[in-house]
């Protein structure tokens, strides 16, 4: 996902409620792009239909 510096700056303000200087925005932009791409790949993963995988967390210590 291609982001502009303006988009990144707005995203940072939304989360951190503070202005980042332009050099910092420029430095963070490719890192945030890469992270969002990774999270998109995560959402696109086909994890199959095993119902056990649908649970949020299973505590394997407690299984008989």
């Amino acid at each position: 996902m291609a982001l502009t510096n303006e988009m990144v700056s707005a995203m940072l303000i939304e989360v951190f409620e503070t202005d980042f200087d332009s050099a910092e925005v420029e430095r963070l932009r490719p890192l945030i792009e890469r992270h969002l791409e990774r999270m998109r790949q995560l959402q696109d993963l086909d994890l199959g239909n095993d119902p056990r995988a649908m649970a949020y967390i299973t505590d394997h210590r407690l299984q008989p």
């Binding site: 963070l28 995560l42 993963l45 056990r52 649970a55 394997h60």
Partner: protein, 473 residues
């Protein structure tokens, strides 16, 4: 190095019990070693000689009165700096926490004190325990005792360096993605992450990620790790994830060997990512288990191909805890990459965390199925021996990302796992064999590690920096 400093706890304890060696003498010995060597290793953030010696004198009096408490009585031990010791700073390797002094002991510390152990100092670590390198701490860069140009691994790097160089007889670290086992492997000592819920995390400051955090011992050999676990294990109502379990002597049965045990050797993931010299040493170690009577079986764990999604990039408690500090900007952190990672982590969504949890579950089920076919798993602890500091500082080499890859699965699944030294590369650097067992079968993990250790190295190996320092020791 003196014979006294070199000793393991199980060698030292009978001498203390018989009053052939005084805890005061032992404490003076390690304090002198810290004084001589720690300016090079930076394994400690806080050392309080007067308090340690006062506790040693108290232990000496108790033992003199016939009130010997057991093998840790009068033995100086380090504590990672993210674990609370009442009245001592707990900096977590961060300048922001320089003046933070908890007024209570972590349960692990309480139990060690009750067993008579002497709290010698707080071990240095990677800033906020958020990297497996120990490259960055506000209190000095920790160096590997086997080669000072290399990282010790982390985040419990000071703990491992101190034990390896005989600046402490053992240490307690924390392990969220491998932070006990990584430095144990790189520094040539034993690191044990017990079953999730066996060792209380109460007093770990703060939780890194509560469902994957563990506290565990770093020790000179397997027997010492078992002695530490004897004290650390047990239910703690102050830790909501602590599970009631019967008290156990983990040294019981440790000599029963591996004959008849089924040892699973993963066909995918672990070996395929390991460097050739590591692969050779670990495969030799596994062959040794077979020579000792274990039956080797191949195991497949295909979901591990998704591990990076389950283990990184998703929100954690630590990410949230540190948000106010992150808002202060890059300068609030010593590790220049850490601030960036924490900023980026804020752009994960709840949907990402749920998908990552599904992957974690799949991996957990696969391990569970595998453990119905075998009693133990054996594989490399790390992909490589300890990287150089120069390589670790190079962002292009992504060393920090790579160091947790082989250890993180066992934080996600909570299985007991140990790293035991299994030889040296051509450069003379230690390599670790990882052995993992079913939940609550920590004793089997220790038993197999002990069998391997006794059949090969015999235990603790002294690194060069400790050998060269004979003055005053």
């Amino acid at each position: 190095m003196s014979d006294l400093a070199r000793k393991t706890i199980h060698d030292l304890a009978p001498l203390i019990e018989r009053r052939e060696v005084s805890p005061v003498e032992v404490t003076r010995e390690v304090l002198a070693r810290i004084d001589a060597l720690d300016r090079r290793l930076h394994a400690f953030i806080t050392v309080r000689p007067d308090e340690a010696l006062a506790a040693a004198r108290q232990a000496e009096l108790e033992i003199g009165r016939g009130e010997y408490r057991g093998p840790l009585h009068g033995v100086p031990i380090g504590i990672k700096d993210n674990i609370a010791v009442a009245g001592w700073p707990a900096t977590n390797g961060s300048a922001a926490m320089r003046d933070f002094v908890p007024d209570y002991d972590a349960t692990a510390v309480t139990r060690l004190r009750e067993a008579g152990a002497l709290i010698l100092g707080k071990n240095n670590q990677h800033e906020w325990a958020l990297s497996g390198t120990s490259l960055w701490s506000a209190f000095g860069r920790i160096h590997n005792p086997w080669d000072e140009a290399r990282v010790p691994g982390g985040s419990s790097g000071g703990s491992a360096a101190a034990v390896s160089a005989s600046l402490a007889y053992a240490s307690v670290g924390s392990d969220n993605r491998g932070s006990v086992r990584i430095p144990a492997s790189y520094c040539g000592v034993v690191g044990l992450k017990a079953t999730y819920g066996l060792v209380s995390r109460f007093g770990q400051l703060p939780a890194t990620s509560a469902t994957t955090d563990h506290l565990g011992p770093l020790a000179k050999d397997v027997t010492d790790a078992a002695l530490l676990l004897n004290v650390l294990a047990g239910h703690d109502p102050a830790d909501p994830t602590s599970i009631r379990s019967e008290p156990k002597d983990y040294t019981d049965g440790i000599r029963h060997g591996v004959r008849g045990l089924r040892v699973g050797v993963p066909r995918n993931f672990f070996f395929e990512q390991a460097a050739e010299d590591v692969q050779i040493l670990v495969r030799q170690a596994i062959e040794q288990l077979e020579v000792l009577g274990a039956e080797l079986r191949p195991v497949d764990l295909p979901s591990l191909r998704h591990l990076s999604f389950a283990s990184g990039g998703v929100p954690t408690e630590m990410g949230n805890f540190l948000l106010p500090l992150v808002k202060q900007g890059r300068s609030a952190f010593t590790d220049p990459m850490l601030w960036e990672r924490l900023v980026i982590g804020q752009f994960s969504r709840a949907a990402d965390a749920i998908q990552a949890a599904r992957i974690r579950n799949l991996i957990g089920w696969e391990f569970k199925a595998a453990m119905e076919q075998v009693d133990l798993l054996a594989m490399p602890t790390m992909m490589t021996c300890a990287p150089t500091i120069e390589d670790a500082l190079d962002p292009a080499k992504r060393v920090s990302d790579g160091v947790i890859v082989l250890t993180a699965p066992f934080n996600l699944n909570g299985m007991p796992t140990i790293s035991v030294p299994c030889g040296f590369t051509g450069e003379g650097l230690p390599v670790g064999l990882s052995l993992a067992g079913r939940h609550w079968e920590d004793h089997l993990v220790l038993r197999a590690a002990y069998a391997y250790e006794q059949a090969t190295s015999g235990g603790y190996a002294v690194p060069p920096i400790a050998q060269e320092q004979a003055v005053g020791s």
